[in-house]
Every structure is written in C-alpha cells, then in structure tokens.
C-alpha cells in the first residue's frame, strides 16, 4: 500500500501544529490530520499484531485502531495516567487511527522562517518519522510525518 507522503507546502508557508510530549521531548503534528483528542480509555486488544498497535477503541460506533507512539519510538509503555491522551488522526477522509501520547500541550503557529529540514545522515532519523524541525522562542519541536508514523508498516 502506498500513501501520499508529499510534503506539500508546509515548509514554505508554515501552519498550525498540535504539540504533545513524550517523556521530555516535544513533538508536533500538522493540524489538518487531527480529528479530535480524547482521553485514554479501555482499549480492546487485538491479538497477533505488532506490539505498537495497542488495540481498538469505539469512537461513536467507529472502530478505530490505536497506536502507541512510545512503542513506535522504541520506548517502553508507561501506565496511563490522567494526562494520557489519544489523538485521533484521519487519513484519506475516512481512515481513522488514534495515537497514544503522554500529554497534549498546545496548538502553535509554525512560521516558515522557523522551519528547518532534518539532517540527511544515514544514521539520523533513519525511519524518517521526523519531517521537519521547528525552532522558535518556545524551544525545539520535532514535527512528525504522520503517514510514516502511522501507516507505514514495520519492515
């Protein structure tokens, strides 16, 4: 299956970004992918799928698979607390996927001048989960490539 990983014009025009954190690192997701943010609730386990897929949840009658971003980044899951959130993303207009994050922070405006490209060294960002790096007065944020993060299968 192929997905459109076209970077569009985000690097030239900037845009709104939802920030969340895992451990102490701040990550961002372009707002256009985001459907809603819900609190962490009971996840129904689906057997025999990779570990980073935690299971499925019921969002108003829709069965939505849930991905653990921690697992995706090679970290161990931590027990959910009241700040643990599920960000529900939508692809291709219908395909919904939720991602579990430690905590959601804020929505910020990424200005074009603050957006830098990721290094291209073969050992850095090898799985290309990071699309851009945003650096502004609030610090450094890693903008994630949602399609890669969510839809690309583990090799």
């Amino acid at each position: 299956m192929t997905y459109d990983t076209d970077v569009q014009t985000f690097d030239t025009s900037g845009g709104e970004v939802l920030l969340f954190s895992i451990d102490d690192v701040i990550y961002g997701i372009e707002i256009k992918y985001i459907n809603e943010i819900i609190s962490y609730e009971n996840i129904t386990v689906v057997p025999k799928v990779p570990q980073y897929i935690k299971g499925v949840i019921n969002i108003r009658g829709q069965i939505v698979p849930i991905i653990s971003v921690r697992r995706r980044f090679g970290k161990e899951d931590i027990p959910p607390d009241e700040r643990t959130c599920v960000i529900v993303l939508e692809f291709d207009g219908s395909n919904q996927v939720g991602i579990i994050v430690d905590r959601v922070r804020e929505v910020t405006m990424a200005k074009p001048e603050n957006i830098c490209a990721t290094p291209t060294h073969k050992n850095v960002n090898a799985n290309h989960y990071i699309k851009y790096i945003i650096e502004d007065e609030g610090g450094i944020k890693l903008l994630l490539n949602c399609e890669k993060l969510v839809l690309e299968l583990d090799k």
Binding site: T44, V45, V46, G61, I63, V150
Partner: protein, 794 residues
C-alpha cells in the same frame, strides 16, 4: 460543460440504469446466438429494438455521439431484418456489434464526468456502415438505395412508413413565412410550384391562393398547409428542404400522414395506455410499447406522434395517456398483454369500438391534413360518451395496475442506509436490554417486552436482508462475454460452465464481485488452461478446456469457486519464482504446498513469463484478494498439478449482522458466529487424549477432535489454562471440526460486523482467524472469530 440537455439531469440515473441493462441484454443475445450460430428473427428484432431504444433515449439526453452510434447499428439490423441477406461473414458482424456495445458501455461510464469530452465514434460508425453497405449489396446489387444505410435520415423515414402504414406515403407540411413578407398567397404558390414536380399528388389549404388575395391573411395567421405524396425518387426530407430554401419561408413542419384513409375506422381498436406516475421519459416508454406491438399490427397509429424526437410529449402522455389505434394480426387480448407487460405501463384501457362511428368522420379529415390534435380532443371526450363500457375498463386497469405496482426499483444507497439503521437498532436494543443498570433486578414484564422487541427486530432484519438479495447469475453472466473475447484472442477452446447461479447474494457483494471474478476468469483463461489443444490431448484431457463458476451457500457464507481444468500450478515453481522476486518471508523449506500456492496472491507475484494483454503484470490476484477482504471474505487457492486450479472465495452471506456466542478469554471477549457452534460443554477426564507429540485431543461420542486453546492461539495473558475449569466449544466449518477452549460463555447476542480498519488488515488479522469487530451493548468491542479459518489453518 454539461453533456446533457438542460433539465435532463434528474433522468441521468434512470437513463444510465436502463441503457446499461439494455446493453447487457444485447451481450446476452449476441453470445447466445454466436454459440448457437443461428440468428433467429426474434434475436434480430430484439437487437433492433434495443438499439432503437438506446438511440432514442440518448438523443433525448442530448448524447449525440451515442445516439448516432446506436443508430448505425440499428440501420445495420434494419437491413438484416428487412432484406434477410445471407450473412457469410458473421465474425465481422459480431465484432462490430460487440465493439459498439463496448464503446457505448465505456461512454456510459464517463457520461457523468463533465471533464471528459464525448468520445468520437465516427470511425466505428464508418465501419458499421461499410459493412451494412456490403450486406445491402448482397441482396440487391443494383438497388438505388445502395447508399441508403450510410445516411441517417432516410432510414428513419423508411422506418416511419413501416410503423404507420402498410401503404401510402403522404406527408403534410405546415409552412410559415417571415413576419415581414407580404403577398403570402403568392409566396405560397411559389412554394407549391417548386415542389410540384417532386410530388405525385399535391393539395393545399387554403386552396384558392392564386386568385383570392384574402388568403394571404389566413396564411399569415394559420400558416400554409400542403399535403403531398412524394414521387418515388424523392423523400419528404428533400421536399422539406426545397420548401425551406424558398424565399421568405420561415419554418416548415413536416408530418407524415396516417394512412388510415382507406381503413374503415370501426375496424381499428383504440386503447389508452397510462404509465406509472413517476416513471419519467414517458415518450420513450411509449416508443417501447409501439416497438413491442409493431410486428403484430397490420395497422398502427398513435398519439402524440413525435414521441421519439419531442420530449415535450412526455408531459402530454403523462397527463392524458398515450393513445394507440391498431388493427392487430393477433387477438387483441394478446396486444393488451404485450402492452401491459412493457415496463412501467400502469394500465391499458380499451376505448370502445362503437365510438368510432363518431370519430369516423374525423379520420379522413386528418388524412387530408388536419392537425392530429383533433384526435386527443375527440378521445378525451370519449370516456364520457361510452358509459356502456366502464366496468370492463375498470377491471382491466385494475388488473394491470396491481401487477405492475408489485415491483419498484429503489436506489441502492437507500437500502444501504436502511441496513445500517437496522444494524444500529440491533446495537441499541442490546444497549437497552442488557443495560448494566438492570443488573440484578427482577423484571418479568420488561423481559417479556424485550423478547418481543428482539423478535420483531430480527424479523425486520430478515426482510431487509432479503430485499437486498439478488441471484449471483448476473455476475456470472458477465463472464461469458470475457471468456468469449479471450477465446477469440487467445485461440483457446473453452467452455464456461455455471453451477448454482441461482444462489442469492447481497447486492453490494455482487457489485464488488465483478472485478475479482473477472480477474480470476482471465487468469484461468490465460494461465490456467493449456496453451494448445494438443497439450490437453497429450495430458489425456478433452481438447476443449472447461472453466467452472460455481456458487453455493453454506452456514452463513457464500462460497464461490472459479475452477479450471488446466495444467495446475507447481508449488516448487511458485517458490522458486517467489524467491527470485524476494517475496518469501521465511525459509523456503518451511513453506507447505498450500502456503506456496497462496503466494500467487501476494503483490508483485506473476508466474507467467510474458505479460499478456489480459494478465501477467502481477497485479491481478493481489487486487482480487484485497477486494474480497474488503467484503469481509477470504480467497484461497487449490491446485493439483496437471488437473487444474481452483480459486475459492468465501464471503459472509449477510454483510453485517450475525448471531454470535460471546466467550471470554482472559480479558478479551470474542464472538463466535453461532452457526459454527455444534455444542459447548465442560470437559470430563475420560474425554482427553494426548498424541505422541503432546497434542491434546478430545473424544466426543466416539469421535476424536483436535483441541485449540484460544489463549494459546492468540497469545493472551490471564486466561484460564486449566482444561477442566474452562469451557470447551465444539465448532464445525467446511466439514472439519475442532474443539476450542475458552474461559467461559457470556451469552448469545446478535452483533453487527464492522470491518477492521485497513491498518489492521495489513497485519493479516483475517489470516489469523478474525473476521471483524462488533460493538456490544455496553459500548465495548468484541472481536468476531472466523472459525473456518481457525479450524482449517491448523
């Protein structure tokens, strides 16, 4: 730019639906006649009618290119029907018609796409006309009409003659002049003089134009009406053209006269046909009625007349009915029956014979050039005058009315909505009846009412499902065409055999089955069946290959098998190939034959050395697999080297709702469709056996079944591992049985299957025996197990 005439948009659906079914009908006829190598009169007539209808409706929609192409084919069959030429080159004929049918189908597909310009069919039309000219030449070499089939318009006129009369060829032309023209009587005279030599007879009104200048005013007001019969060498078109080119002539309306002049009016039967109130395109439906009865009538006239070209007549027919006068060569009752059976006809009322005494005078007048509008006026008055007949009229109307109204066509999306709604109701019902708030309460009356509700809901479900069921034969029949085309191209002799084509499947499944079936049939034709008949004979098989499409339903599933009796596949070859393409995921030696066969359904696998027009690009079977999985089904391959290959598709019969038994395993809840469960029980020590490899088996009434521990299968923690504490469920699928170990039974419930998201499908949840999820009454999710997959994959 919209392709349709304005105001036609609302009819697009109807038009597409009707034209598509007509084209399918056409294919069926062609394939049948081709295989029987006979071309009966009925078939020719049928093709002629199909093309005629397509021509008419396309023209009405403003789709000129389609209309013209249909017209060309119609012309060709007109020649075949009328002249009955000895067709020696049937191959060309079939190719021409099949291609025309394909072109029309392709055009229908893009007809709603405003960006795509209408396709130019002139090349194919030229070929058809060339061939038609050849046909024509076969029967009447020196005929003056040799060029006739190449010209669209005259053919129309010829047809009209046939429709209306068995003799006589009179026309009436209503001529109007420019507003600023003077001395209209003299201008009219010029017109008459101009066409005089082209007409064998001519009369006009007013008659005394030459010496009465008062007629000028009359002409200015009412127009000038000429009634003429063209000489044999010229047609009405030519004369109309002459009139039109005369100075100061503004407009000419030419109508063909009804040649009823010589017919005693009383010998004609008059009927009024009413159509279903919402059927639309009444004029074309009226045309269909006329087409249907045309051959059985010696004499035929109808009002409104220009139904084919003037869509405004639809409104007249809708309000006043469609009036047909005829003298039939078969009993009138037969004609009523034929009319009554035409789609969308609501009623056929005979208008009493006796009233022809009244209208008898009107007929000759009409023939002399009165406006045909006199007829409906008279007819409209008739029912009032024919008090003697109302009973019969009423009855016949009622009879047809009942018959026709028992069938309606419904937009599929509405049925989809209905089905979704029923699914939601089932969930809502569960939310109410197994509401946690009710736990521990003793509610006898509530339970009684809940049972009643459940019963009604399940009946409603059955009805909704049955509405959506259609026989699979529709999908199968489409394959005949593909096989036919490929037979010709590949030079292979193959019989296509259907089994169980009457099996009923959900409509949405049928629609999504077309593509996968087509891929598989192509595969079987191209790769399955041996290259040459000699190969087959050498293998000890009949030289004619056989592809079997079969369907049957078994325990909530429809099984569709595409089987060929060709060379079969060699698992070792497949493995070698897969290895070379780098798509093996484990060491080659670990693949079973079955797994090796299923490699053909992986993306990027193609065993055929060369890419052909039909298959070999390695995209076929994985697309099939994806499409079937979208429907919640599975595909598997079975092949015996030298004996043939079968593709087995299994699709849940009802797309969405199953009766399930909920079982718990650890913290998970699974639903097992109840039709797979034979029994459930607690294990007794004397039932347990262990084989030499340590596998457990369970003995039930003298039969031995393998044991599958669900917690082990799905690697679940916290589950009951003690065989004697858990519950054993004996399940059967596809003739195989096995015992499943679960922690406990929760209860029986109807669940609505929701498909897994594409993300999960990527990880092969289907292959691991999970067919979908469902939402339970408390909002939690249960995973529905695909028992047949679990059992057969052991």
């Amino acid at each position: 730019m919209a392709k349709f005439e304005s105001g036609m948009e609302s009819m697009v659906d109807t038009y597409i639906f009707e034209t598509t079914s007509l084209l399918e009908q056409l294919d069926q006829i062609l394939i049948k006649t081709e295989s029987e190598s006979t071309f009966g009169e009925d078939e020719i007539n049928e093709i002629f009618r199909i093309m005629h209808t397509i021509k008419g409706s396309s023209a009405m929609m403003g789709l000129e290119n389609m209309s013209h192409l249909a017209h060309a084919v119609e012309d060709m069959f007109y020649i075949i029907r009328e002249d009955k030429p000895d067709i020696s080159d049937t191959r060309t004929l079939y190719d021409l018609v099949f291609t025309a049918s394909d072109l029309l189908k392709a055009e229908i597909d893009i007809v709603q796409d405003e960006d795509t310009p209408p396709t130019d069919f002139s090349e194919h039309m030229r070929r058809i006309r060339d061939y038609a000219a050849v046909l024509k030449g076969v029967v009447s070499a020196p005929a003056p009409a040799a060029e006739k089939p190449a010209v669209a318009a005259p053919a129309d006129a010829g047809e009209m003659v046939e429709v209306l009369t068995s003799g006589g060829a009179g026309y009436t032309a209503l001529v109007t002049f420019e507003d600023d023209a003077v001395m209209l009587n003299l201008r009219a005279l010029i017109v008459v003089n101009n066409i005089m030599e082209k007409c064998s007879s001519i009369s006009y009104e007013p008659a005394d134009i030459e010496n009465n200048s008062d007629t000028a005013d009359f002409i200015a007001k009412n127009g000038f009406r000429i009634t003429y019969t063209p000489v044999e060498s010229s047609g009405a078109e030519e004369i109309t053209e002459i009139i039109r080119s005369t100075t100061f002539v503004k407009n000419v309306t030419t109508e063909q006269l009804l040649a009823v002049k010589s017919v005693p009016a009383a010998s004609l039967t008059t009927v009024k046909v009413m159509f279903e109130p919402d059927c639309k395109m009444e004029n074309l439906r009226a045309m269909m009625v006329i087409n249907n009865i045309r051959d059985d009538c010696e004499m035929l006239a109808y009002y409104p007349e220009d139904i084919e070209s003037d869509q405004a007549t639809a409104q007249i027919i809708k309000t006043d009915g469609f009036i047909i006068r005829f003298r039939a060569s078969i009993p009138n009752e037969e004609i009523y029956r034929i009319i009554g059976e035409t789609p969308s006809v609501r009623s056929v009322d005979e208008i009493n014979h006796e009233i022809h005494a009244d209208t008898a005078e009107e007929r000759p007048e009409m023939a002399e050039g009165q406006s045909p509008a006199a007829v409906p006026a008279a007819e409209a008055a008739e029912p009032a005058r024919t008090g003697a007949q109302p009973v019969q009229q009423h009855q016949s109307s009622k009879k047809h009315g009942e018959k026709k109204q028992s069938l309606i066509s419904v937009n599929l999306s509405k049925l989809d909505q209905l089905l979704n709604m029923v699914g939601e109701i089932v969930i809502a019902e569960a939310m109410v009846t197994s509401n946690p708030d009710l736990k521990g309460l003793k509610l006898d009356n509530f339970q009684k009412a809940a049972r009643q509700l459940r019963k009604l809901n399940s009946e409603m479900q059955d009805i909704v499902m049955s509405i959506r069921m259609v026989p699979i034969s529709g999908a199968f029949n489409k394959m005949t065409r593909i096989v036919r085309d490929m037979k010709v191209k590949l030079g292979k002799e193959v019989d296509l055999v259907f089994e169980g084509a009457e099996t009923e499947v959900d409509k949405s499944i049928i629609d999504s089955l077309n593509d996968p079936l087509m891929h598989m049939v192509r595969n079987s034709m191209d790769h399955g069946i041996e290259e040459t008949a000699a190969d087959r004979i050498a293998a000890g098989k009949s030289p004619v290959g056989k592809i079997t499409l079969s369907a049957y339903s078994s325990s909530g599933e429809v099984v569709i098998i595409v089987a060929d009796d060709g060379a079969g596949m060699d698992p070792q070859k497949l493995l070698t190939k897969a290895e070379r393409n780098g798509i093996l995921t484990k060491p080659r030696s670990e693949y079973t034959d079955k797994e090796a066969l299923n490699l053909v359904m992986l993306p990027g696998f193609s065993t055929n050395e060369k890419v052909t027009e039909y298959s070999g690009r390695g995209v076929g079977m994985d697309v099939v697999k994806q499409n079937i999985e979208k429907l919640g089904g599975t595909v598997s391959v079975d092949s015996k080297l030298g004996q043939g290959t079968s593709f087995i598709i299994k699709i849940p019969l009802s797309l969405s709702i199953v009766d399930g038994m909920e079982v718990s395993v650890g913290r998970s809840i699974f639903t097992i469709p109840i039709n797979y469960i034979k029994e459930s029980f607690k294990l007794k020590p004397n039932q347990l056996l262990t084989d030499t490899d340590g596998h457990d088996m369970i003995m039930i009434r003298g039969e031995c079944f393998p044991l599958i521990r669900l917690y082990e299968l799905y690697e679940l923690e916290g589950a009951q591992q003690d065989l004697y504490e858990g519950i054993i469920i004996l399940a059967e699928a596809d003739g195989k049985s096995a015992c499943l170990l679960a922690d406990g039974l929760i209860g029986e419930q109807q669940v609505v299957i929701k498909p897994f998201s594409p993300l999960l499908n990527n990880f092969g949840v289907k292959q691991n025996g999970m067919s979908g999820c469902s939402i339970l009454g408390d909002g939690s999710i249960t995973i529905i197990l695909d028992v047949s997959n679990i059992i057969t994959d052991m």
